[in-house]
């Protein structure tokens, strides 16, 4: 895995924009490219369009329309009934607030913990630095699914502090809490790697200057490096947010109380003996739209930040 760590050390700060790079593309080619892009847009958008459109139709019509282009058109018996049905069936707002809280906290803590670790790894000099970095990056290869069972057993052995009325009680086991959905996902090797990459592109002379002014390392982290790392922070925020928001298997295993469940788990509520597919589509739309709106709102800085956060390797 050292390949990951070796390559980037010499990376320069992101170069200035190079939009003047090429002569405008010739006309026929530009038409061709546009056609290709439009076809691709259809390919990328149609499945999601199918979801939104189906969420407006009664179940029987979804299946009747599925064999032709009507599947993509809001025609026939269109209504918001499915959405009303969703609210009857699941406590949607509660799930939504849980998901927002869980992903929000994981993102904030994740940014802090991982950037601090990356700072320690990239700016300070100490023995065993390279070994620790390699070890952290090696953990990238472990997919969560294979760890879920041992982790379940393990978090159930961990001590926990809970509020019981006005008393703090020590209990054992993290099952059925918010923390079990947050704390295991704060530290993330990929995030550390992204910060490490980005920090490596910020000139070290800045540190020296700050130290001349009497700043400690945490101050340098706080006041020099982090303010320059906007793109990396945004990238890590997004890449932490998505998997937590979309988490499915883990909350199913560890959360029993309805009040603690996140939105993705809610989709299970619709798979009864008679699956209400219209409501499934409505619910899927409702949990996808917040992310899409968030994404569309920030898309420019979002994509820019991924692009410039040092992922370039």
């Amino acid at each position: 895995m050292a390949a990951l760590t070796d390559a980037p050390t010499g990376v320069q700060p992101a170069p200035a924009p190079q939009n003047r790079r090429r002569a405008p593309v010739s006309r026929p080619r530009s038409v061709l490219i546009t056609v290709a892009r439009v076809v691709l847009v259809l390919v990328f958008v149609l499945p999601l369009l199918f979801m939104f459109v189906s969420s407006l139709k009664p179940d029987l019509q979804i299946f009747a329309d599925m064999t032709n282009w009507r599947a993509f058109l809001p025609v026939g018996d269109v209504s918001l009934d499915n959405y009303a049905g969703v609210f009857d069936r699941v406590p949607f707002l509660r799930f939504l607030l849980n998901s927002i809280g869980i992903s929000g906290l994981t993102v904030v803590l994740g940014i802090f913990v991982n950037s601090l670790a990356a700072f320690g790894l990239s700016r300070l000099q100490w023995r065993g630095q390279q070994a620790v970095l390699t070890a952290i990056i090696a953990t990238l290869i472990v997919p969560f699914e294979t760890l879920a069972l041992p982790l379940l057993w393990w978090v159930n052995k961990l001590p926990s502090i809970q509020l019981d009325g006005f008393h703090l009680v020590f209990t054992t086991g993290w099952i059925d809490t918010y923390q079990v959905q947050i704390i295991p996902f704060i530290a993330n090797a990929f995030s550390i790697f992204l910060f490490y990459q980005y920090f490596s592109s910020i000139p070290r002379e800045l540190d020296e200057a700050a130290r001349m002014d009497g700043a400690g390392w945490f101050r340098i982290y706080r006041s020099v490096v982090m303010p320059l790392s906007g793109p990396a922070i945004a990238t890590v925020a997004i890449l932490t947010f998505l998997p937590i928001w979309n988490a499915y298997m883990w909350p199913l295993m560890v959360v029993q109380r309805e009040e603690l469940r996140p939105v993705m788990v809610g989709i299970q509520y619709f798979f009864q003996l008679n699956v209400a597919w219209g409501q499934v589509m409505a619910y899927a739309s409702m949990i996808t739209i917040p992310v899409l709106v968030l994404f569309l709102g920030f898309q420019r800085s979002f994509i820019n930040s991924i692009a410039s956060s040092g992922v370039k390797g």
């Binding site: 892009r37 699914e145 410039s308």
Partner: protein
């Protein structure tokens, strides 16, 4: 919308200007850190790396170690009988299990196809989006939309599209004027895995497009200008300027796609449950099925252990290959 202006964010040049101004101050570089400062630096580093290190240890290393131990026991998720060490029994059972070999084969095939296809298609998209045509921002956004959508939702949707009387078949029949015989994509052993590959590329390619774009932005414009002066064709420009300029990006993309391809699970779980006839089962899926549905924790851990070894091997090979070209 029109701008092809690339991806360096606006705030950065300004920030860098400030830094340059600061760093221009004279100072006496390397001599400023005697040994005591060194050890203080070590302490600070421990304090900074500590939280992440402890968390990774608790929630990653410990479960991995547990999986290693459990792999040699007959532990079950629920059972009145205590777990016993049974040596290599789980592994010998595994090696005679035809589902295991099918899973391994599917993992390898999936990765061998997905890595070049997704990387290549991502590059094509990046080049398309990078070309100077109207609406770049819009297209870039659209291609990225599947990345932010939940894989569970996407798998449900595509299951509908892949049905025998689903839209994909209907469309193919129209396009070929009826010459195409509809295929039950997900229930045909020869098309199920390819169908899942197509969907996976669709879902993941936007992310890698962005990474390629980032790589493209780092190639100095002068090189292209020089190429234009020499009258280089589009292909030559790509072959001799773009491609070599993307070396570091290639390594990064190769490794991230490989790891995610080998971990294939959600799509299988929602769409095919490993079938038909084991044509889509994977190691991770098999581990989850044994561990959770059949409650055989020990057996599942053995599968996970083999999976770790597989990924480590692949990573080592890739490291060796990418090293060579340096």
């Amino acid at each position: 919308m029109v701008s092809t202006t690339p991806l360096a964010p606006g705030n950065e040049p300004a920030a860098l200007t400030t830094t340059r101004r600061k760093s221009a101050r004279p100072f006496a570089g390397g001599q400023r850190r005697p040994t005591s400062a060194r050890s203080r630096e070590s302490r600070t580093a421990a304090w900074m790396v500590g939280p992440a290190g402890i968390l990774l240890f608790l929630f990653l290393v410990v479960p991995v170690v547990l999986a290693f131990i459990l792999a040699f026991t007959n532990a079950r998720l629920i059972s009145p009988r205590p777990a016993e060490f049974i040596g290599f029994d789980n592994f010998t059972n595994l090696f005679t299990d035809s589902v295991f070999w099918a899973s391994l084969r599917n993992n390898v095939v999936f990765a061998l196809v997905i890595v070049p296809v997704q990387a290549g298609f991502g590059l094509v998209l990046a080049l398309l989006v990078n070309a100077k045509v109207r609406g770049t921002n819009f297209f870039r956004t659209v291609y990225f939309v599947p990345v932010v959508t939940s894989i569970v939702v996407i798998s449900l949707l595509w299951k509908f599209l892949y049905q025998l009387d689903g839209l994909l078949n209907q469309m193919l029949v129209r396009v070929t004027f009826g010459h195409f015989t509809p295929i039950d994509w997900l229930n045909n052993p020869s098309t199920a895995l390819p169908a899942i590959m197509v969907m996976s590329v669709w879902q993941g390619v936007g992310f890698h497009m962005i990474i390629w774009l980032a790589g493209l932005q780092t190639i100095p414009a002068d090189l292209y200008e020089a190429g234009d002066l020499d009258g280089a064709s589009g292909w030559q420009r790509f072959r001799y300027i773009t491609w070599p300029g993307l070396r570091a990006t290639r390594t990064f993309i190769l490794i991230t796609i490989t790891i995610s391809a080998l971990s294939l699970f959600s799509q299988i779980s929602v769409m095919t449950q490993g079938g038909p006839l084991d044509s889509t089962t994977t190691l991770v899926f098999m581990a989850v099925r044994s561990g959770y549905k059949q409650l055989a924790t020990g057996y599942a851990s053995a599968i996970s252990l083999i999976f770790f070894v597989l990924v480590l091997t692949v990573a080592a090979i890739q490291r060796f290959l990418t090293r060579e070209k340096v």
